[in-house]
């Protein structure tokens, strides 16, 4: 269980996040959505321990602030938005960095397995810097997956924190990456993902937290949060959510009305 209470983050005098309560359960994909600058990434960074916010974050019962980095590393992997890399490492060497923190280090052949999982089989010897943005992003995902390869360890769930995991991917790879997150959750792990794409969120998430201006605007099942009124307020444009007969809500930018001048 990931349990954050009363998270407040200030940069200088400006409050980026104010009094956020956030919970995510293992076995589920929990999405954080909201407009640009609403504090999504800041919330994720508070949850992973990059920032030391006011309030408290507990992951599987460990207080994030006082847990040692290598203990946390065995519990959760974190995929940043983009990872510029110093020095000409190969894709395989980048993935192997993920093995340092995990408990999987002894497992054979995990590097090619992790690369194959993200659709990059055969990329082992390629220089990371020579790959396209989307391929780099997937190499990083493979690194994170290698770190927490088994969604459960010693009967306890492990976690994936993903910051806009599909932002630089084409639609095929978007679906592939979201399916990886889905499978991780279905196998008992926990997934927390910052998402820009509301349709993919509706498709893959079990729970959604909608942020606007550093506060929680809605929290709950996708159908309860991805509603016309909440989304229109958060994104400051008229949004119409539609429903397909079988699969829950979707929305089209076409269906949005004229955007009101601010």
């Amino acid at each position: 269980m990931l349990d954050a209470k009363d998270i407040t983050v200030r940069l200088g005098h400006r409050a980026i996040l104010t009094g956020i309560d956030f919970r995510a359960r293992p076995g589920a994909v929990t999405a954080i959505v909201g407009p640009n600058g609403s504090g999504k990434t800041t919330l994720l960074r508070a949850l992973t321990g990059d920032l030391s916010p006011d309030g408290r974050v507990r992951l599987n019962g460990h207080d994030i602030a006082s847990t040692r980095p290598w203990v946390l590393a065995s519990l959760r992997g974190v995929l940043p938005q983009a990872t510029p890399l110093a020095f000409p490492f190969t894709a395989a060497e980048v993935v192997r960095l993920g093995l340092m923190g995990g408990v999987e280090a002894a497992e054979d052949g995990l590097v090619p397995k992790a690369l194959a999982r993200v659709g990059l089989a055969g990329f082992e010897g390629r220089y990371y810097q020579e790959l396209s943005g989307g391929e780099q992003q997937r190499v990083q995902l493979a690194r994170v997956l290698a770190q927490v390869w088994h969604p459960m360890a010693h009967g306890r769930p492990r976690w994936l924190f993903l910051d806009e995991p599909v932002s630089s991917l084409d639609i095929g790879h978007q679906l592939q990456v979201m399916q990886i997150a889905r499978d991780f959750a279905d196998a008992g792990g926990g997934v927390v993902a910052v998402m820009h794409d509301l349709n993919l969120t509706a498709m893959f998430a079990d729970a959604v937290t909608l942020l606007a201006e550093g506060r929680v605007l809605g929290q709950g099942a996708p159908a309860d949060v991805l509603r016309d009124d909440l989304l229109s307020r958060a994104y400051r444009c008229p949004i119409r959510v539609n429903t397909t007969p079988a699969n829950g809500p979707y929305l089209l930018p076409h269906a949005a009305g004229q955007i009101a001048a601010e």
């Binding site: 980095p69 946390l72 590393a73 065995s74 110093a86 020095f87 190969t90 340092m100 923190g101 390629r126």
Partner: protein
Amino acid sequence: MVAISPDETAQWDRAPRARRTTLMLAALLGLVSVFSLTVGAAGTSPWAVLADWLAGREIGLADRVVLFEIRLPRLAMGALVGASLAVSGAVMQGLFRNPLADPGLVGVSAGAGLGAIAAIVLGGLLPAGLAAALGYYAVPVAAFAGGWASTLVLYAISTRRGRTSVATMLLAGIALGALAGALSGILVYMADDAQLRDLTFWGLGSLAGATWAKLAAAAPLMILALACAPMLARGLNGLALGEAAANHIGIPVQRLKAVAILTVAGATGAAVAVSGGIGFVGIVVPHLLRLAIGPDHRFLLVNAALLGAALLILADVIARVIIAPAELPIGIVTATLGGPFFLWILLRKRGVLDL
């Protein structure tokens, strides 16, 4: 020197090649060391001395002095200084996540130099008891303190929110170097004749003055720093992803940075204290090795120590035989030979270096 195969990517695991390189470099270091003992202005042959010793004969005084009081400490000093400079370069580049970081380039050597000069010039102002206690250690300890302070300041200035800015690092390094140079100039201006003589000898950038006593003062610091370096390897690998991601994969980043900065300061400080700052080794050796075996610090640091030591010993041999019985400053040798070679490597491997 280092085998660089044109086919870098055929086999993705570069570890076996890195291990082979370690063996080759160790052999090279052994070879160069023996060579260094046999060459010199005096016609002493270590083989003849060894034969005498094995046969139980008395070893001649001249041979003993040349071999054990001149060539051997000089060899040990060359090996330690070369290894220290190359490893500091590699650690610093890993710490700053930038291949341009080099103690000589970004003001750390200048800071260490300021410490050394301050110890020579102002050493007399110390209370007599303290000065006596420090003895030979005063210069290396002061150089260490100077190098440590400048590395710390440099990192603090150029790193904001876990990101080290290259431009800021280079500019701050230049400013720090200029400041340290100016302060050193003021100290030189204040120095008396005897101190000036000490300073000149120190500043030559040479291993000529190597004695066991000097070695005893500087070697512990260099050996300690070199022994710490391999413990940094995994952390520096992780740091290539940035500070936040390094933390996510379980690296205690703050502790890593503190140890890395102390290591660089110790190795550079002690090397500068005894050799006056020999440029070029810290940036060329890690670069060559990254091209040959990749950037994995688990192999890079060990290999850098071996190659740095071998290169400096070789350069020292050249420095003392090429215009024998006079000597060239070793910095001239490293730059004349290393410069063109490095440029040639750059031309051949620009594609990889741009990554």
